[in-house]
Subunit: 120 residues, 2 copies
């Protein structure tokens, strides 16, 4: 399955996702997918978070605590869940605040190897 | 219970915590506590992450998705779990990579109001 289909399947799984993006740490999106029901501006959100993630990746590197695997950022109104796909790319899902955080983490972890393969 | 005791109780609960810190977003620690068994440099780690957290807080503000509640950063060798305590302070726990992520999230959420009160 190509990365576009994997992303679409993640967003459309029953986890309360508003949208998803596959993006480089340089802030350039490779693929985006928004749920039909959302007015959330997923691309803008992803670009804002990309610089934060780059900084997190740098910090994890400085501290020599191994490779960055996963980041989650929970605010009052939404949950941003990120998984590193490769040294260059990450996949992010944006969930509604009542979305299924645990299942989303599980799905991202499960799909990351497939995404990595299809991005090579 | 004072914030020092709350932090100590969090680290000593059976969740695989290596240490914890209460810190301002300006990177100045208010209280630190390391598990007896760890060689992890909790203060250094916390300072490195404070600038990242400040950036996350700023991003969450820009995107108008409500107040920042929780951040987790999972690397190969450790888990950093952060909970906003007030507009100025956060509490962070560092767990071993096999630490109890779910219970740590629960405990931080449960103790945050007590920390906020005792910091005022």
């Amino acid at each position: 399955m190509g990365f576009k289909k994997i992303l679409q399947a993640l967003v459309e799984d029953n986890i309360g996702a508003l949208g998803g993006v596959i993006m480089g740490y340089d802030g350039i999106a490779i693929e985006e997918y928004s749920a039909a029901t959302t007015e959330l501006d997923v691309p803008t959100l992803a670009v804002e978070y990309a610089s934060v993630l780059k900084e997190i990746k740098r910090t994890v590197g400085v501290l020599k605590t191994g490779e960055l695997q996963e980041v989650s950022i929970i605010a009052d109104n939404c949950i941003v869940l990120v998984r590193g796909v490769s040294d260059e790319f990450f996949v992010a899902l944006v969930l509604a605040s009542d979305g299924n955080f645990g299942k989303a983490r599980y799905l991202l972890k499960r799909e990351a190897p497939g995404l990595r393969e299809s991005l090579q």
